[in-house]
Symmetry: C2
DNA sequence: ATGAAAGCGCTAACAG
DNA sequence: CTGTTAGCGCTTTCAT
């Protein structure tokens, strides 16, 4: 690999001039031409590692998510990537697998590799951002809020829970259960609170604790919880699924038992990914995942650019798609 | 951030000794202890960038895929990641979006960042690996084969096409169409060839060209092609979908037209992701995506470790899951 | 076993 | 506008 010294020699200028050409500072036209020629001839590419070492920062941002196999997060990743690559940044995707330890490892790498910033959907409430924040690198939280004073982009989770529950109530269901993600994850808790508010207003006689389940944010979590609910002495006649994958699991179980919606009402918070036989009888509260990624990336880039205003949290509106109007 | 000099000073040893401690070369026990103490006290982490610059290689591998939103590829990514992180490597995921230019950019980054190796599912047949191979870095091709003399892991694509078609033939369908990905992508071509072989043997009277469609490897590609096929003077009575997303699109269109399988036979090459209303009437040729990732990662790690045997290509067997036995 | 010292390739003062 | 120079933090001979 050619270095700036090789280029400098061939172009008969100093290494510094070569560096300047590749960094857009003022150099006379003829030298620029000479350098570009030489660089082309030598097939020269600046060594990013050296640049990073020198500059103490690199044009890479880390995106840390808890489940790379969840289309919700990959959709968000697309949003981040589009904005970032537009701005000349590359995005490295890190899968924490919802484990704080793995998350910590990736955060350590982000620091050690001098990445410019981090967008993170935290693994859980124990996620530790202390050391990354101590380095002064900008961090934007997505999807889940944190206890830190940093920028964030979240969904209108409570509203999502309420809309979902209300739609089911309007459709005439009475015992409406809720299956959410892990209780200590704030999105799950908020969505549950929304459901709870709607239900306790409309059906004060219900014992909501009995109808509430916390699972993993995955298909098997949704399946297990749905089975528990159906085993209840008095099973629910409808259910709100706290995320897309839980929704998939719940609908699977229902279908297997011959309880295809709308026999049992279903509302899902988050879009159903890749639906084949379209479950027209399912209400979907769409979450703008891509938009979340776009927004977070813009905020992060602003911060990297030196924006120092007080930290902001953006709440994204969601859009309800009532049962029977469903078309992907 | 503390450096080895800080640690050296505190531990009263030379920087070289500190380096040795962190690289496992022989250092007397007491010094090791002193260094570890000092490092802990200063919260020292070796600067990877500097190490990379010095060593001219980093413990990062790049995984370049054409569609991060396709569960087939994210499943594969999990396989890669698991093996890599086990071995102390991190994986950066790069989404080429099926564009050779984006792919080239990421490949350039991989070189510039001194990454140890690349696993790539090429964007198309024009993908250019020349410069990356010129650096001597190991490259493993996954999913799609290339014209280069490098290691590869692919599915038994032709066999998959044949199995899918045969299963449909056995079920009594006669006019069996095929919807594949872009014609010039070898997986698509191979799967098509498999279908063609099965059909021309069993139904020599059919005009296969009429029943063959090449689309994008995405849901809308499957939808469009399925609609075209249904608009034929003599529409097919069954269809083989060349990948998971095409399958989703085809089934969607069929369902919307009231032609729910098995009214029209469907066989999908690749697993149907996140099925809700289980399409029991659909044949699925399972592709071991995770296994592909695992295998590729192992091969790459071997090469990074210096393995210099002639290049190998591993073909992974797939498993057919006939219609009506489907359970996710 | 340990230390001194020379870079890896680049950038950013500082002169001129 | 341009060249000289001094490192960024680490690893690795080469002596000791």
């Amino acid at each position: 690999m050619a270095t700036i010294y090789d280029v400098a020699e061939l172009a008969k200028v100093s290494p510094a001039t070569v560096s300047r050409v590749f960094n857009g500072t003022s150099v006379s036209e003829d030298k620029v031409a000479a350098v570009r020629d030489a660089a082309a001839k030598l097939n020269f590419t600046p060594n990013r590692t050296a640049r990073t070492l020198r500059r103490q920062s690199s044009e890479v941002i880390a995106l840390v998510i808890p489940d790379i196999e969840n289309p919700y997060f990959t959709e968000m990743a697309r949003g981040v990537e589009d904005v970032a690559s537009e701005a000349g940044y590359s995005v490295v995707l890190c899968n924490s697998d919802a484990q704080v330890e793995k998350e910590a490892t990736y955060l350590r790498i982000a620091i050690a590799e001098h990445m410019s910033g981090i967008i993170i959907a935290t693994a859980d409430e124990n996620s530790n951002l202390d050391s990354i924040l101590a380095t002064g690198r900008p961090v934007v939280a997505v999807d889940r809020s944190t206890t830190y004073d940093i920028d964030g982009v979240v969904m209108a989770n409570r509203a999502a829970g309420t809309s979902a529950a209300k739609d089911l109530l309007d459709a005439g269901y009475r015992r409406i259960a809720y299956i959410g993600g892990p209780e200590h994850i704030d999105t799950a808790a908020e969505r549950a609170a929304g459901w709870r508010a709607a239900l306790s207003a409309a059906r004060p006689e219900l014992d909501l604790d009995e109808l509430e389940r916390f699972a993993t944010f995955r298909v098997d979590g949704g399946r297990a919880a749905m089975e528990e609910l159906l085993a209840l002495p008095e099973p629910p006649d409808a259910v709100v699924a706290g995320n897309n994958l839980i929704g998939v699991g719940a609908i699977q179980v229902l279908t297997e038992r011959g309880l295809t919606p709308p026999q049992v009402g279903v509302a899902v918070i988050g879009s159903l990914p890749f639906t084949t036989l379209s479950p027209t009888a399912v209400t979907v509260v769409r979450l703008p995942a891509r938009h979340m990624g776009v927004t977070a990336a813009r905020m992060l880039l602003d911060r990297i650019g030196g924006d120092a205003q007080p930290s902001r949290t953006v709440v994204l509106r969601n859009e309800i798609q009532p049962a029977s109007a469903v078309r992907s």
